[in-house]
């Protein structure tokens, strides 16, 4: 495959579907003696109802705590003996689990994932113990004022759509959810016809498909309920959140309703974000971990080089339904929030009014082209991208990403800036630090 002159090593992908509905994607990558296995479930916090927020994430935690055929104390060690690592995460549209280890561990990894799909134990004592672990996870996040602000801004930007609550859940719900609710959620959504299994690495596709059939073939299909999420009504006026707490540093956030991944606005918006705050790429697992190239980005030059902010970041993530486009700023010590907000507004209004220069759009596209290469540098990252887009967006999307970025025009970028970054559809959040009491 060649995209604008970059040669990507040809990696053939095999796709299969078992009789029980499980979708399997295998990509052979023979550069290291490794294999990465990811199981993806089409269930996330955006599928939750008030009163049981956080249930998907808690279920993810419980699915590491023993199965009928893998006693709780033996979960740890299976992959490690092959030098492997394992993990999992939950977000608004998906829950996923992974192992990356020596290729010789493939059978063990598939066994773990097959067990996870059907045989997790949900021992009542373990459920209780995990309740306090998750509350600790939530409270650790609250120690970061910027994260606290993000949660409040998101909850304010949405009125009806369940994307409004944090994936970890509200504290009150975490205190109330029962073992039976967890187990019912698990049984409803952890079925082969709601899952995609991705295997990438130094393996033969035929061998993998045979092994997958052995491990998963006998699991009966389920009846996953159709995804029904209340649509978000159009926002007709600016919303604001002010948090005042002890702290040292002021934070500012903007959020606008973003296009879903399949919306025609998505790629123009991605280019717009790259021009405003630097290109991150599209890998939720890895692309947001380091700083993006952003020294020439509009908001960086206006606000960071302008001395008003010490940090600016933007986030547009591919989601199943319209989520948020967020811009986050850290005020430089001594700069008051109103002047930072005014300057940020002015910079954004400039783009809404005049669009971007051609060279800015070209640079943003070049950045994205490079980031798409950087974010696919390991079997783990490649497998993540395949499974993420298969689960969140649907087949074929990932193959079209590079060309879709390339096709974006300056006019499209100006158009999405004008329509989508309007003040009346914006939510603004301030974290204003109070002097700590002695």
């Amino acid at each position: 495959m060649a995209v604008s002159g970059i040669t990507i090593p040809d990696r053939s992908t095999r796709v299969a579907r078992l009789d029980n509905g499980l979708k399997v994607v295998v990509q052979e990558v023979h550069t290291a003696p490794l294999v990465s296995v990811w199981s993806w479930y089409r269930i996330g916090s955006g599928d939750e109802r008030p009163g049981s927020t956080g249930v998907s994430h808690w279920v993810e935690h419980m699915n590491f705590k023993g199965t009928t055929n893998i006693p709780r104390e033996q979960m740890k060690g299976i992959v490690e003996r092959f030098g492997g690592t394992w993990n999992g995460y939950t977000w608004i549209d998906q829950t996923t689990f992974l192992e990356t280890a020596a290729r010789s561990a493939l059978d063990q990894m598939l066994f773990i994932e097959a067990e996870r799909m059907t045989n997790c134990l949900y021992d009542p004592d373990e459920c209780e113990s995990e309740r306090t672990v998750i509350i600790s996870e939530l409270q650790g996040g609250e120690n970061d004022p910027d994260q606290l602000l993000d949660t409040e801004v998101t909850a304010t930007a949405f009125r009806a759509h369940p994307y409004r609550h944090p994936t970890i859940g509200w504290l009150e719900d975490l205190r109330a959810i029962s073992r039976d609710e967890l187990y019912a959620h698990y049984r409803r959504y952890y079925v082969p016809d709601n899952a995609t299994l991705v295997v990438v690495g130094d393996v033969g596709a035929d061998d993998v498909l045979r092994a997958v059939d052995r491990q998963f073939g006998r699991i009966p299909p389920g009846d996953p309920p159709p995804r029904r999420r209340p649509p978000e009504p159009a926002q007709i006026g600016e919303r604001r959140v002010l948090i005042e707490r002890g702290g040292t540093t002021a934070y500012l956030r903007f959020a606008w309703h973003a296009p879903s991944a399949t919306d025609a606005d998505f790629f123009p918006m991605l280019v717009l974000d790259a021009a405003l705050t630097g290109a991150k790429g599209l890998n939720l697992w890895s692309s947001f971990r380091g700083a993006p190239p952003q020294r020439k980005a509009r908001l960086y030059t206006a606000l960071v080089e302008g001395g008003l902010a010490s940090m600016v970041s933007g986030a547009l993530v591919a989601t199943a339904e319209p989520f948020l486009y967020g811009i986050a700023l850290t005020a430089t010590e001594g700069v008051a929030l109103p002047s930072l907000e005014d300057a940020a507004r002015a910079a954004i209004e400039d783009v809404r009014h005049d669009g971007l220069r051609e060279d800015e759009v070209a640079r943003a596209k070049r950045q994205l082209r490079a980031r798409l290469v950087f974010e696919s540098d390991s079997v783990t990252n490649i497998a993540h991208q395949i499974g993420y887009f298969e689960t969140v967006v649907g087949p074929g999307f990932l193959d079209r990403v590079a060309a879709s970025v390339e096709a974006v025009t300056p006019e499209q970028v100006a158009d999405v800036a004008r329509r989508r970054l309007a003040r009346e559809s914006c939510t603004v959040g301030w974290f204003r630090p109070l002097e700590r009491r002695a």
Binding site: L34, V133, N143, P145, T249, G278, D377
Partner: protein, 425 residues
Amino acid sequence: MTVAAISGLSPLRHVLSNGANVIVQETAFSPAVTITAALHAGGLYEPDNLTGLAWFLGRVIDRGTAARSADAIAEALDDRGVTLRVSVNRHTMMVSCTCLAEDFEDLFALIGDVVRGPVFPPAEVEKRRAEIVTAIRQDQDNPAVRASEALQQLLYGADHPYGRPGKGTIETVERITRESLAAFHASRFAPSSLSLVVVGEVSQARAIDCASEVFDDWTAAEPADRAVPPIESAATRRQLFIPMPDKSQSDIAYGFVTISRLDPEYYAYWVMNNILGQFGLGGRLAENIRERQGMAYYAFSGFDPSIGPGPLVIRAGVDPRNVERAVGAIDVEVETLGTHGPADQELAETKQFLIGSIPRLLETNQSIAAFLQTSEFFGLGLDHDRRLPGLVEAVTMEQVARAAQALLRPDRAAVAIAGPPVEAA
């Protein structure tokens, strides 16, 4: 046997006429190249009254050179989708980036320019100073950072280079001048202390040609070395509490001064730390604090030896009401491993894990470059990845038990806690 075959790296070393070291590892995984340039210019070499000078240099070194303005550097990076990183630790400063293979020469020349000829434009110095002050203020509000920095101080003393905060204090940062930055650069940056590592889709010849072109005519006097000042080993328990009333959770940092990376017992300590606070979710510590007691989302230990004796640091974040219980659980795990050593199966599994994880650690250009820089810094040899399995395999039960017994003594631990005060129950 389940350990993956180690195919091994095959890096080439080339020494330039001025003594600079170039190490090149060609890979074919992705059309990208990672470039890293490391120099002996970490916090150890700062004047004792200008803590944070090395950190500050790292923030401003890439904001203007004799040949390129800050804006020209910004444009060169952003046009190619590249983030330049400058990391500073106790001993070294490293300038690095990952770029598309087609941009290799451009980025290598830019890094060369940044390393050799920064000019510290006054406006850039002031902007970066304001950013550092803001970052220090953010650290002051972060219980994890407060606990970790307090622990470093308890372990090494506030004046020791291993005990001071890398960013410095607001007071020292305010005193750093353009002249002190230039003087520090001039005293520490020289070809004899430069280690270049290039990993990616680039031939060895192309990389070496490029390195020669960019660095061959660089001359500078060899920087003076500075030994790590002696560390007084404490024979008593030290504990410090930092009240942070507005926070939801308390952070615990609990640790010891260990050994040098060059100590022959290093591999035994590495294995021991993995058992204590790494294996699986976080070794014995996570098994107790997270899995059995449900007290914390994270509980683990990190082992960070350097030229001098680095720390072993245990970290956990818990409900403020559970601090005592969590510290008690850490005491129990530390004491138990120290007194009884590991179990046979634990030792075997851990060694198997560490050996088996080598291919995973050497999968990406960035991780290979980091591995080669570390090997080079400690003089471990370019074949270190091939020797590493044998070094881990050779670690005996007696060595690990001895390391644990020597180090893991709760009555000699330093403990720092940052979080909301709780009224005595």
